[in-house]
């Protein structure tokens, strides 16, 4: 399902007007990519999107990842832009799907007939950095959202600001506080 916000991000922003030449810079990639092939886009961005969904504590991140890319495949013929725009658009879709999923679960919580366990289940075996994931879970929702979009999804400050609907200054502040808290939690150097 394409939300209004997704369509706005796709059609009303600079993605439609951006030139189709690859940009040079931090987000530029060297390997060729056929942006009209949803399979190639999946192979390029699915690991980052899955990392984003896991870091945001999506209950079923792999299922959500599939939903994200099904929507991407449907809307990809209407996309115009370079790699950076494509990455930004895909993460916008993922962001909205994540919010939709959380709302859906809040309205229709999953009921289980089983009793809750006494102790928390250990992290899944395929989680790359359990310590970091646990530290991310201690951040506020706003801090985690910003820091994950910024570094896991590898988006620029302006892109994170656009996706989350904040000003760039607010994103910078949230990022600084999140990194400081992660540094304290993980024991590494931290600072603004």
């Amino acid at each position: 399902m394409v939300t209004t916000a997704d369509r706005g991000a796709l059609a009303g922003s600079e993605e439609r007007d951006a030139p189709s030449v690859p940009v040079r810079g931090r987000l530029a990639e060297v390997e060729p990519l056929d942006a009209t092939d949803a399979g190639q886009v999946y192979r390029w961005l699915a690991p980052a999107v899955l990392g984003y969904l896991r870091s945001q504590r999506a209950p079923e991140p792999e299922d959500l990842l599939g939903e994200v890319f099904v929507q991407v495949a449907r809307d990809l013929p209407g996309f115009r832009g370079d790699r950076a725009a494509l990455r930004r658009w895909v993460f916008t879709v993922a962001h909205h799907r994540l919010i939709d999923d959380a709302r859906r679960r809040a309205v229709r919580p999953v009921r289980s007939g089983r009793e809750l366990p006494e102790i928390a289940a250990p992290p899944a075996a395929d989680v790359v950095d359990p310590e970091l994931v646990a530290a991310l879970a201690e951040l506020t929702d706003d801090q985690r959202e910003v820091v994950v979009l910024r570094f896991v999804a590898d988006l620029a400050l302006a892109d994170v600001a656009r996706i989350t609907g904040r000003r760039v200054g607010a994103v910078k502040a949230l990022q600084a506080r999140a990194l400081a808290r992660l540094g304290e939690r993980l024991g590494g150097p931290a600072g603004p």
Partner: protein, 259 residues
């Protein structure tokens, strides 16, 4: 160097974890099902056209081959349909709205024994092509009005009075009869089924005549009726007399149609 670089590196590593192959395969299958590139639809249309062209070519070759190999008086129906009198030209003069069907259509949909044998025994690619061609031919016939209900079915006739409505519907029926007469499977080899006198162009024949009213076509009038008579001899004599009368009637028919 950023003092948080070790943190950002660890965070970035979360986004580089590969997708499990089984999960990726499932997602890619979903993507294939959801995203149809524009070239895909165009490709399907082109392939349908290619199948139709190949089918016409195959049917043409088999029709000619069957004509060449035909034994006795059993000519391939495709050839008969192509040679039928008055199929082209005369109908357009009689009723303007009638469009003459494409010339390639009759061989496609006329049941050709050679084609049926080909599609039934060989199967595979050629059989598929023949089946696809038959399907396309059916669609063409349906689009041309050769099958299905008449276009006015379910709609009231136009006109304010009863006479006007009757006249309107009669005109529609006449035009539709001419259209159906031009259809390939209503070819001139099947005049007995339509009641059209031989040699008369389809558009001039009008609606099919009743077989019971025309001794020149159809089964003999006693068909399905037991002969009169109390004894076997009487019944045989009665039936012989009827046959003799029918033979005389048939002899008076315009071209001796004995169907």
């Amino acid at each position: 160097m950023n003092e948080n670089e070790h943190l950002t590196d660890r965070l970035a590593e979360l986004g580089r974890h590969p997708i499990p192959p089984a999960v990726a395969a499932q997602h890619l299958a979903g993507i294939d099902a959801a995203g149809v590139p524009a070239s895909g639809a165009r490709g399907r249309r082109l392939s349908a056209v290619a199948v139709a062209a190949a089918a016409v070519a195959v049917l043409g070759v088999t029709g000619v081959a069957a004509a060449a190999l035909g034994s006795g008086g059993s000519r391939p129906t495709t050839v008969m349909a192509e040679e039928g009198e008055g199929v082209e030209g005369t109908q357009a003069e009689a009723t303007e709205p009638v469009e003459t069907p494409p010339v390639e259509t009759p061989p496609v949909e006329t049941p050709d024994p050679a084609v049926e044998e080909l599609s039934g025994t060989e199967g595979g690619a050629v059989g598929d092509v023949v089946a696809e061609a038959a399907r396309i031919a059916r669609e063409v016939r349906r689009a041309a009005g050769c099958v299905g209900p008449p276009p006015w079915a379910g709609t009231p006739p136009a006109g304010a009075t009863e006479e006007q409505r009757a006249a309107s519907r009669a005109a529609e029926a006449q035009a539709f009869a001419a259209l159906r007469a031009a259809c390939p499977d209503d070819g001139d080899q099947g005049e007995a089924s339509t009641g059209r006198p031989p040699g008369v162009p389809p558009a001039q024949a009008g609606p099919p005549a009743r077989i019971a009213d025309d001794p020149c076509v159809g089964p003999p009038p006693w068909a399905g009726i037991p002969p009169a008579g109390a004894t076997e001899e009487e019944r045989a004599a009665s039936r012989a007399a009827e046959a003799q009368r029918h033979e005389a009637d048939r002899a008076a028919c315009p071209d001796g149609d004995d169907s």
